[in-house]
């Protein structure tokens, strides 16, 4: 699986929510695109990730 441009192994079957939480992400501060499509936040717990998935995990930073 590719996350933010980096390869990583998925390990066992997990939902997007499980993946984010196990990596200490605060889900309320994030948005995620999976294979180019924005994942609605309400579905993070039911979207199951696969080894071929590409994720972009983004959050707000300072900007003008």
């Amino acid at each position: 699986m590719r996350v933010n441009g980096k390869e990583m192994t998925l390990g066992n079957n997990q939902s997007l929510l499980q993946f984010l939480q196990s990596n200490q992400f605060d889900v309320t501060t994030l948005a995620v695109a999976r294979n180019g499509e924005i994942v609605p936040k309400a579905t993070y717990d039911v979207v199951m990730l696969g080894e071929e998935d590409t994720l972009e995990v983004v959050r707000f930073v300072g900007g003008g």
Partner: protein, 254 residues
């Protein structure tokens, strides 16, 4: 009668919009509070690891967040960034910023119009950053922009009101709020923009590069309020010759 700034139906008492770039997280709150800003711009970037500090923890809760689409080189990229930002669940305001010139960071007006139309139809309150051009401003309004944000000078330059005359034309001709964004370097320049009838000023670098950042935020807040009051008061007329302040004395012999 209050003099509120209304954007997309939302009222604001402050006409100072703050960009949050170039600040350390700890100072962001002091800048927002000293400047009295009620709207703060943010950018969207990769979250590469969990447990990182988040800028949202440093912005007071009553502030309206204005995500920008910085990084976008096309309308399509701007739309994607805007939709991602909205998914974080912090409101539906967006600053459309589409730039493919890396030297001057001038916005691509035409891609900005395209992105504005798509996002306005998608329910966003769209505030497009633009190079001051009256035709483009009219197209942005037709496309559904809630405000129009012409640049004063290149982003980060602190140069001031380089585009003064063209911004003034927009003030005279465009019905939606005009917000000067980019290039303002001094509170006096922000004040001057407000005296011209500009509806709000956005600053970032001018505050972030000051020696005393919270104090400069306060200076900008006061300058913007001052310029607005001057505009509402109606500036006095300008003469070529002198006109005495008091009548002739009459009691001194000629």
């Amino acid at each position: 009668m209050t003099d509120q700034l209304v954007i997309g139906g939302h009222p604001f008492n402050s006409r100072f919009i703050l960009g949050s770039g170039k600040f350390s997280l700890e100072i962001v709150k002091a800048v927002v509070e000293n400047g009295g800003a009620e709207m703060v711009t943010l950018a969207l970037r990769r979250a590469n690891r969990g447990g990182e500090e988040n800028i949202l923890d440093y912005i007071p809760k009553h502030i309206t967040l204005l995500p920008n689409t910085s990084g976008a080189r096309t309308a399509e990229e701007a739309v994607k960034i805007a939709r991602l930002a909205r998914e974080i669940n912090c409101g539906n305001f967006v600053k459309v910023e589409v730039i493919r010139d890396s030297k001057y960071l001038f916005p691509d007006n035409y891609e900005t119009i395209k992105a504005t139309e798509i996002l306005a139809k998608d329910g966003f309150v769209v505030m497009p950053y633009m190079y001051p051009d009256l035709n483009v401003a009219r197209d942005l309004v037709s496309a559904g922009a809630a405000a129009v944000m012409p640049l004063a000078a290149p982003i980060g330059s602190n140069k001031g009101l380089s585009t003064r005359d063209f911004i003034e034309i927009l003030v005279n001709e465009i019905a939606v709020p005009i917000i000067v964004d980019a290039g303002i370097g001094r509170p006096s320049q922000a004040c001057e923009a407000m005296e011209m009838g500009i509806d709000a000023v956005m600053c970032n670098t001018a505050v972030a590069t000051a020696k005393n950042i919270p104090l400069m935020a306060r200076a900008f807040g006061l300058a913007i309020e001052s310029g607005r009051n001057a505009y509402l008061a109606g500036l006095g007329r300008v003469l070529t010759e002198a006109e005495a302040s008091s009548p002739l004395t009459g009691f001194l012999e000629d």
